[in-house]
Symmetry: C2
């Protein structure tokens, strides 16, 4: 069918077993999975359809399009989906008496959910999104390797910056060059976010006051963007001497997203911004030390908040004033906004091999955003960086 590398069957089986353990723990008889990324994770194929995962035993992937491609790619049995009306009957006769059925309530549109739930009348609907996201948060060696490859690509982008940045160049010009270089390295050109209405292109190449423009995006920096119809990220603003230039750059390798932020400046940053950068670095060092298995997710955020306050920068931390984002970091993997979430209210423990992007940043309205971000894997010794690009601010001579 095609020459693209496939996900190993053992890898897929392991994922399904871990998800089934969660279903058992929560007394859920089975789950109907339909979101493209979850389908890919649990089958090895992103073809369109419905994957039924019973609490135990073999799942079945009912595919709409393309059946032939799914049969070739998937590590689970594939059947043609056929007509919706008969699908309910087929599911009931194959998987028997179902009392509690799981769906992905965070992404499955209401209209479709009602149809799918109709396959199992008089059944209790349960949200399995969080438990599946927890399974996905813990990465395998295969997944960590994809992230390590992606990390080398964003590192090369930072190495190229001194040759590229110049006064009068626009944010979008530089962003387009980076996007071009990453695309040639295999970036799929689509940055997947799970959150409703959240979207992203590359990340953010943003400078000075444009970077500090607030926006809807659930991140620490906003960005002016190209238009009111795309109010975030790179804009047509040009670079000037002495302003912080933020490179929050991601790339996607075999579906896996790495996330890293570095800073650049033409000439010199003033003292206040330089100091803010040092505080950001001290926060990330502390997070590295704290981030061990068993530590509650929120602890890293609360500690960072405390450090920002101690430095007198609480008003600027992760956005300014009313437009602050209320987290320190987020899981990355097949999606940009995975678990864990390092934010207040998340008392769940870190687990070995969870992958987290940690991004302490400070926003100064009218002046810019400054900070740092690395993607880490959780180990017994604390966080181990996957992104190992030098952390010094890239200084471009005037």
């Amino acid at each position: 069918m095609h020459p693209l590398p496939k996900v190993q069957t053992t890898e897929v089986r392991e994922r399904i077993a871990r998800f089934q353990a969660k279903l058992q723990e929560n007394q859920i008889d089975g789950a109907m999975i339909t979101q493209n990324v979850d389908l890919y994770y649990l089958t090895g194929s992103m073809q369109n359809g419905l994957l039924y995962v019973p609490q135990s035993g073999e799942p079945r992937f009912y595919v709409k399009k393309s059946v032939a491609r799914a049969e070739f790619e998937a590590s689970v049995p594939v059947e043609e989906m056929g007509r919706m009306k008969q699908l309910g009957e087929r599911l009931r006769s194959t998987f028997g008496n179902v009392k509690r059925i799981g769906i992905e309530m965070d992404v499955l549109p209401y209209g479709l959910a009602v149809r799918y739930l109709g396959f199992f009348p008089d059944t209790e609907a349960v949200d399995v999104a969080f438990m599946l996201r927890l399974v996905r948060a813990v990465k395998s060696e295969y997944e960590l390797n994809q992230l390590r490859i992606a990390a080398t690509h964003v590192q090369e982008m930072v190495a190229m910056l001194p040759q590229q940045i110049r006064v009068g160049m626009s944010e979008v010009e530089l962003s387009a060059q980076i996007e071009h270089a990453l695309r040639l390295k295999g970036n799929i050109g689509i940055y997947r976010m799970r959150g409703y209405n959240q979207e992203l292109c590359l990340g953010m190449v943003a400078s000075g006051e444009a970077a500090a423009t607030p926006t809807y995006f659930d991140g620490p920096a906003g960005g002016l963007g190209m238009s009111v119809a795309s109010p975030q990220g790179a804009s047509r603003k040009t670079f000037s001497v002495g302003e912080p230039i933020l490179f929050d750059i991601s790339t996607v390798v075999e579906g896996y997203i790495i996330d890293q932020t570095r800073m650049a400046v033409i000439g010199e940053l003033d003292e206040e911004l330089t100091r803010a950068y040092e505080v950001a670095v001290s926060i990330i060092r502390e997070a590295e030390r704290m981030g061990k298995p068993g530590v509650p997710w929120q602890d890293l955020y609360l500690k960072a908040l405390e450090m920002a306050e101690a430095a007198g920068l609480q008003q600027h931390f992760m956005g300014f004033g009313n437009d602050q984002a209320k987290f320190l970091g987020h899981g990355v993997g097949l999606e940009f906004d995975e678990l864990p979430v390092l934010a207040r209210g998340f008392a769940q423990p870190l687990e070995k091999n969870m992958v987290i992007a940690i991004e302490p940043k400070f926003t100064f309205p009218g002046r810019g955003v400054i900070g740092i971000e690395n993607t880490y894997v959780v180990t017994k010794q604390g966080l181990k960086a996957i992104t190992t690009t030098p952390e010094d601010i890239v200084r471009i001579p005037e």
Copy 2:
């Protein structure tokens, strides 16, 4: 706040009035709108929140983030959303007794929908997505102008092809060059699709057998893609002599998406593929003639099907065999998959100023995909092309 051009208040008021007319027609008391594109369309701002549109009277935009930016951009009254618990009370006390409440059931996730519907207990929930999409399908002069500008950008891409294509170059190399050029012209780098799980980068630069690889995407061509985790569109396959190279290229200007397909070949296409291209052109000419206000959407598809059959190409039309897409064209605007849908079962009439991308294509497994696509506006005289790039196959000397 910022220097980006804003949507005119008169434009936004007109849109709301047309949507309110639909709510009245369908005896819906009000609608809770939350999807980013619908919010932008009805307010002029894409900040995050909930827009309540009553059947008559002034809507209100309850914004989560950024309130300051929404106040600056939106042409409707903005309030801070505040806590979810109080929002229900505020809505009920402001908009009174509600019996039938509208939500966007095609995009709003189940979990959020249940929360929002909880604001109005004992109320009937109605899907307003199709009626809002019908309002959006008819474009204003302002919107048509954005599409015309976007059309000049994709035309320039086709003009550059002879200087770019060469034997041994990969699909993704060429795609990346086109993406780069379009980004500099203002493309936001995000191609919005409404359909669940549907996604896109640029469109498709695909050649020979790679273009004919079937995939989940609801379009006539599939594409090998960069990986199993992104199984569509451009791949690492390199161009060879004599194979059809498909340029299904889109760009996004001020949120508005244009869609156009042209063909290229290094050397010559064989007779069968050349003839298939001629059939595609004759189908699009017939659609142009038929596409007048009042004509049922499906008629254009059924006529095309008839013409493909008469030419003996029915097995190849819009994909091959079991992987055929069952439509001839789709609306474009702020999303890639707007109304109208030219497909069986859609008996709704075309209306003046609807915008449609029509894309007759033929798939030959192992050999490639060939066809043509233009974006049109519906006029009394039939379809008028917005994309006016020369339609000849771009021939590159060997």
